[in-house]
Symmetry: C2
Subunit: 297 residues, 2 copies
């Protein structure tokens, strides 16, 4: 099985055409649901007593919730606005609420997880949580600007504790203080990451392992409505695919990246989580085939 | 054979590490030399009496110069500065000089060219020059911000007169007033282009024909020294490859795009034209193979 540790949020998403208020979001929500198309996935996360029952029900349809905790107080809230191009997001407000004091506990049955995904949590928390798993074959983490700006040394330390780092291009540059993405990846590898996956949004991603680079395009889409959660869906699909195969050969990791691109493309086509929750495994496989045809030459 | 019409320039290129002063450049120079690796290529361009003999000799090693005219006055000069990331260029000065009054003439022996590339010239000039060819199988044009800003209607008219438009992403958005690159391409196709190729620099390119999209990554490079001429080298290789094959099937056009990516990658690895002039056909074929291995999954 796969364990995902990260945030479950109530998001307010403002785009030029529509505002979504207090909808279910969070890195672990997107990553976990995306992964769940491939493998049994458990979620370690916290919400407040205001967390709507319908959202808990939705999560429970996709995820094992043994590690999902409700604490007194309000759920983590995020409020962000996209520009006209939907490529730039400004944060209006972040309220940590119950997430601020959360002490994650790994449920007994998750300790044997061979695959673990640590979403963009406090890097110290990620570094300590990964030690509670007895049998990890492949672990992956993400991080965000906030932690790079406030706890860079801890982010670097966290990278040593995992197999793979998945990170977006701007944050990779910020973290490594390099402009060129190959140089960024090499630096993260020198810090101890065996695999680095740099996400480039509509431009796809770059996978690095040893001296191999595997660039892949995004699945081309004409109509994007809400980019929220695309990167988390990418990461979730990637590790979910690998957890299902129980293999981490280069060939499977490349395929995992393709699934990442495909789930990322579904995520942005509809509002909020609908991009993931309205699809079927069959549609995923169909799009992977379309992807293969698209890039063939 | 292939005919290339466009600018030959004396460039001043300022990067954070080095300044090149009055070096041979220009869209047609890069495109023509890039194309010449694949097919006999003729250049229609103008320079002033100050154009150094060594540069004329260099051009004559790669290109037929029957349409290369020297006129009284100074050669077209461009002066631009790159930022620290080498991804943004600011124009310091453009001196049209002899280019301002140039009336291009198609030499008799070029009139039978089946392949014609119109670089980023005045769109009215491009539209009228293409009519002087008797036997065109495949014509392609590029354009730049300057013409979009000053002669947008003429740019749109030019697009009707050619088979393919090759254009960079920012200019495609500016020209079509769309954010999404698929929408940009569709609009250019609605204006009469059968093929649209959108260049995205380090992120590769998108080819559009009918309802087919072929996205391709750039060849990954760690050390880029001078991005000048990358897009022109891309376009030149593309049409040079096709002119050599004398085929414009989808499969060959996709391969042409791959050669475009590869020649673009050589162009940025060295200063000025050195990226193109220091390579051999064998190195090109080797990198195409590396490209194929790189993207395989």
């Amino acid at each position: 099985m796969l364990t995902v540790f990260g945030s479950t949020a109530l998001d307010t998403i403002r785009t030029p055409t529509r505002v979504l208020k207090d909808v279910l979001g969070g890195a672990a929500t997107f990553a976990g649901i995306s992964a769940s198309f491939f493998v049994d996935t458990g979620l370690i996360a916290v919400v407040g007593t205001d967390f709507p029952k319908k959202y808990r029900n939705l999560l429970s349809r996709y995820l094992d919730l043994s590690g999902f905790v409700t604490q007194k107080g309000k759920t983590f809230r995020y409020d962000g606005s996209y520009d006209d191009t939907l490529s730039k997001r400004t944060t209006n407000k972040t309220e940590l609420n119950v997430l601020g004091q959360f002490k994650p506990i790994v449920p007994e049955k998750y300790r044997k997880s061979e695959f673990v995904y640590l979403a963009n949590n406090d890097p110290d928390q990620n570094s300590s949580l990964i030690k509670e798993f007895d049998n990890v074959r492949f672990s992956m983490c993400d991080t965000i600007e906030y932690w790079i700006a406030t706890k860079r040394a801890s982010v670097i330390k966290m990278i040593k504790t995992v197999d793979a780092v998945v990170i977006n291009d701007e944050e990779a540059k910020l973290l490594t203080k390099e402009h060129n993405l190959i140089k960024c990846a090499k630096k993260m590898m020198s810090w101890g990451a065996k695999y680095v996956i740099i996400k480039k949004g509509e431009h796809g991603s770059l996978l690095f392992v040893e001296d191999i680079i595997f660039p892949s395009v995004a699945f081309s889409l004409e109509d994007i409505v809400d980019p929220t959660g695309a990167g988390d869906s990418f990461a979730g699909a990637m590790i979910g695919y690998l957890a299902n195969k129980r293999k981490t050969s280069l060939s499977e990791i490349k395929k995992a990246v393709i699934y990442g691109n495909v789930l990322g493309s579904f995520a942005v086509e509809k509002w909020g989580l609908d991009g993931l929750t309205k699809i079927t495994k069959k549609q995923i496989e169909k799009r992977v085939k379309q992807y293969q045809n698209m890039v063939e030459f």
